[in-house]
């Protein structure tokens, strides 16, 4: 028995020696902080400039990307912070972990990654409209009316851009896993409810059929928002004509000027839309430092804008847009609040159950 314990101590000792040795060998001693973050923020944390900005404060931040709704459910032991993509989900993590602090360093409206010819097509069907400043707006009410009639792309007159025998549906992620899908449910339930937020659980059944059909009709859905957006970038129209994304995902790629946003790709804004307020919940002092730095450090705030996030500094995003030679993101006029956490969860659970039936 004694020798087993000794052996275990020996093993641990060896591993510690290796880790410590490696740390010293690299010439700097950074404190490692582990977080679990909504997958759409993974590129931000992987950015070498972001890594350097944290290193300047003595931190090495490693993150596991996950669907934001998964973040509120998984075991968070071993993590220093959780960083889901919305305030309601952060609130749930707070309650589960008994934490009262939270940081909301940046936000992003929900948008639709699409293609100019597809938008022109939808404008002929009175579903989309081009604003005087050039950006496209999708009328969610007209979209729902079309979906209710099972409008197919090949039924839109004069369609040569995408004459597919496929219903006009926005591609989302799975409502079970991902915050962006919850944001989609927020928008469409608002409109389906006669342009009013679904206030209580009793109001869910009234909109459930219509909202569910928008998910189930799409077929198989991916778990996290980074997946559909990457497929949109890699395969374009062959993946999907309409992809539900965070504005930041699209802008961040445009600002990078890496050629991934190709000619004809456009970002359309649903009307109404909702804001995804990325909210960090610290699970200890190290996580708290990360939250404070993201909210206050000028360099990290600048980098957040470079990744397409809107921050307290309204000019930051416009500056990057100008630098990248793209149109500045439009001011947001038609923004609605998501339903309360409880109502939204009830709705999403009910939709998810329909996948099992």
């Amino acid at each position: 028995m004694f020798s087993v314990v000794l052996a275990a101590v020996l093993v641990v000792g060896v591993i510690v020696a290796i880790v410590v040795g490696r740390e010293r060998g690299s010439g700097q001693s950074l404190e490692t902080v582990r977080g679990v973050v909504g997958s759409e923020k993974a590129p931000f944390f992987a950015d070498p400039d972001v890594v350097a900005a944290f290193a300047a404060h003595g931190l090495r931040v490693t993150v596991d990307p996950a669907g934001s709704r998964q973040i509120s459910e998984i075991d968070l032991a071993g993590y220093d912070f959780a960083f889901p993509s919305s305030f309601p989900l952060a609130e749930r993590v707070q309650r589960k972990q008994g934490v009262t602090t939270a940081y909301a360093p940046f936000y992003s409206p929900m948008a639709i990654a699409s293609f100019a010819p597809v938008m022109q097509l939808l404008s002929r069907a009175s579903i989309a409209e081009r604003m005087p400043d050039g950006h496209w707006v999708v009328d969610v009410e007209a979209y729902l009316a079309a979906a209710r009639k099972n409008l197919r792309w090949d039924q839109i007159p004069g369609n040569t851009a995408y004459p597919a025998r496929r219903n006009v549906l926005v591609t989302t992620t799975h409502p079970r896993d991902s915050n962006s899908a919850a944001m989609y449910a927020s928008v469409v339930s608002y409109v389906a409810n006669g342009n009013a937020i679904v206030r209580d659980i009793g109001g869910v059944p009234k909109v459930l059929d219509e909202v569910s059909a928008l998910f189930l009709g799409q077929g198989y859905l991916e778990n996290s928002t980074e997946g559909p957006f990457e497929s949109y970038l890699a395969n374009g129209l062959s993946y999907s004509p309409l992809v539900w994304v965070y504005e930041a995902q699209f802008l961040g790629r445009q600002f990078r000027r890496d050629g991934s946003i190709r000619d004809g790709m456009v970002l359309a804004y649903p009307s109404p839309t909702v804001l995804s307020k990325h909210t960090l919940v610290p699970l200890g002092d190290d996580g708290d430092r990360v939250g404070r730095l993201l909210t206050q450090d000028p360099e990290l705030l600048r980098l957040a804008a470079r990744h397409g996030f809107r921050t307290a500094d309204a000019n930051a995003l416009a500056n990057f847009a100008a630098g990248a030679g793209v149109d500045p993101p439009p001011p947001l006029v038609d923004v609605v609040d998501p339903p309360s956490y409880q109502v939204l969860e009830t709705m999403l659970d009910a939709i998810s159950r329909r996948y099992q039936q």
């Binding site: 020798s3 596991d64 597919a164 496929r166 077929g219 198989y220 990457e230 991934s260």
Partner: protein, 527 residues
């Protein structure tokens, strides 16, 4: 000293012992689909570049699904890697079994058509719809090969696209749509001239048919398999790739973590995924395996045609997916005629005959696993049993009714339970009997897919030898000569003779030495 030895032991148990390459601690253990074998050179480079060894262990699609949702996979593997997770994720509770998934490459399931056929149908200049393809199949101006949808993802993907298109559905399929499309599907599958349990073998068998002067119109397969076949340069002229305008299903090869894997394994996963998605790695993946890149920095080259593809919504309910497979097996496919030539000689006594009985009883309904359910004898299937020892026994033929299969399955079960081992091994005499039966059956019902399974646990000891069988086979008319033999290696099987029988008749061997029932199920994909 004792403590040190224990420490070493603990290290070994924890998977940290850097001894042989087999237990390289820096290994990501992956349960994978066999079609990923062509990535090995890329994985070797990954190991050189990052130190992480990605070790693929191959298994069939359904078996993989079963291992994941039962939780069994997590005991031996850190991750899974199949052509798609879509069917897997229809199973309740799977989301607790799998973690992060990252797409590594993609390949749509499309048609490869021989040039004269494509030209005469006009498909070389204008992309057809699935309905037009089905029309050509009905008129027999287009015959084709396709994998079995219950055994292989490419066949299942084709079935989903085709059924969606024929049903006119613009959203995910429903059960009534599946049932409603059955009459058209039956006409389409009547023109199927070649089947297989794997996409790679289908391409090989197609090539053999073309080079043997018995060509068929084309085949349905991954774009990557079709482009690889063209690149081999073994066909008289390259196939025309045909992308149906009304939809395809695309395999996206997600490398997927299993829950419960260690943090170290997760680190290796991150390293592997980061490497595989580098633009300078995505390009060689595209150039060597003909799969499409998934990062926007790498553009597909001119070989990847088709213009805009329409991705067909994949079913969201397990019942719908299973109804598609069930309907294919029991209603819409060409009904199988399956001849089993089975060794009951003295050497089969004991465990061996028990294993054989258990494998056959499994196919008669005793195997309730997922793969067992789909590999059961199907409605309308004709099953012939030719057992042999010193000489072939009288053949027994059963026809499984489409509506009420149970009584006939029970009859097969009763026969199997009565088998006793004893006597010599008149292997080739029994095979000759099987071909005589096949000749009759093909004559009586040419619409059936007729195949022979041969199981023997040793050398032939009486009756004809291989040379005499070869002469007999060469003298056969084109039917039943086209009937393939699938020999199962078992016990002390004469491996090289079995391989020769397989290649002579256009079949392939299966290894049943470690798990006979698994081999018997795998063969179902070829029948």
């Amino acid at each position: 000293m004792k403590a040190l030895a224990l420490a070493v032991l603990l290290l070994a148990v924890a998977g940290c012992s850097p001894s042989s390459p087999e237990d390289d601690p820096n290994t990501l253990r992956v349960l994978a689909g066999s079609e990923l074998a062509d990535l090995q050179p890329i994985l070797d480079e990954l190991k050189r570049a990052t130190g992480v060894r990605v070790k693929l262990t191959y298994t069939g699609t359904l078996d993989g699904v079963e291992q994941v949702y039962s939780g069994q996979a997590a005991a031996s593997y850190d991750a899974i890697w199949f052509s798609s997770n879509r069917y897997l994720q229809l199973h309740g509770g799977v989301d607790q079994r799998i973690g992060i998934q990252t797409k590594v490459m993609s390949s749509p399931v499309v048609l490869g058509v021989r040039q004269p056929v494509a030209k005469s149908l006009g498909w070389d200049t204008k992309r057809p719809t699935w309905t037009e393809i089905a029309d050509a199949a009905r008129a027999r101006t287009f015959t084709y090969g396709m994998t079995n949808p219950s055994a292989s993802n490419s066949g299942f993907s084709a079935l989903v696209s085709l059924t969606s298109a024929l049903s006119g559905s613009g959203s995910a399929l429903t059960e009534p749509e599946v049932t409603g499309a059955a009459p058209q599907l039956r006409e389409f599958f009547a023109a199927q001239a070649l089947t297989a349990g794997s996409s790679g073998w289908l391409a090989d068998a197609f090539e053999r048919r073309v080079r043997g002067g018995d060509p068929i119109g084309g085949l349905i397969n991954y774009e990557s398999v079709l482009l690889s076949l063209n690149a081999r340069g073994t066909l008289p002229e390259p196939l025309v790739l045909v992308y149906p305008t009304d939809g395809v299903v695309t395999a996206d090869y997600p490398l997927t973590m299993l829950t419960g894997a260690s943090a170290e394994a997760r680190g290796r996963y991150d390293t592997a995924v980061e490497y595989l998605r580098r633009p300078e790695v995505q390009r060689p993946i595209m150039e060597r395996t003909y799969r499409r890149p998934v990062v926007p920095q790498v553009a597909t080259d001119g070989r990847f045609g088709g213009g805009t593809l329409v991705e067909v919504p994949f079913p969201v309910h397990l019942d719908v997916a299973n109804a598609l497979i069930q309907s294919f097996n029991d209603v819409t496919r060409r009904p199988p005629s399956t001849i089993y030539v089975l060794d009951l000689s003295g050497s089969m006594r004991g465990e061996r005959i028990d294993a054989l009985k258990s494998a056959m009883l499994g196919l008669s309904g005793a195997d309730s696993s997922l793969s067992g359910r789909f590999s059961r004898f199907h409605g309308r299937e004709q099953v012939t049993l030719v057992t042999f020892s010193s000489q072939p026994a009288n053949p027994l033929t059963f026809v499984v009714p489409g509506d009420a299969p149970q009584p006939v399955l029970d009859e097969i079960r009763d026969v199997v339970n009565e088998w006793r081992a004893g006597g010599d091994t008149a292997l080739y005499d029994a095979l000759v009997v099987a071909y005589e039966i096949a000749a009759e059956q093909v004559r009586a019902a040419p619409e059936r897919v007729t195949t022979i399974v041969l199981l023997s646990d040793g050398e032939r000891t009486s009756g004809r030898d291989l040379a005499q069988f070869r002469d007999f086979y060469r003298g056969l008319p084109s039917q039943p000569k086209a009937v393939p033999v699938f020999p199962v290696l078992f016990g002390e099987s004469a491996e090289s003779e079995m391989a020769e029988v397989a290649s002579l008749t256009g079949g392939r061997t299966f290894d049943g030495r470690s798990a006979l029932a698994t081999a018997f199920k795998e063969i179902r994909g070829y029948q």
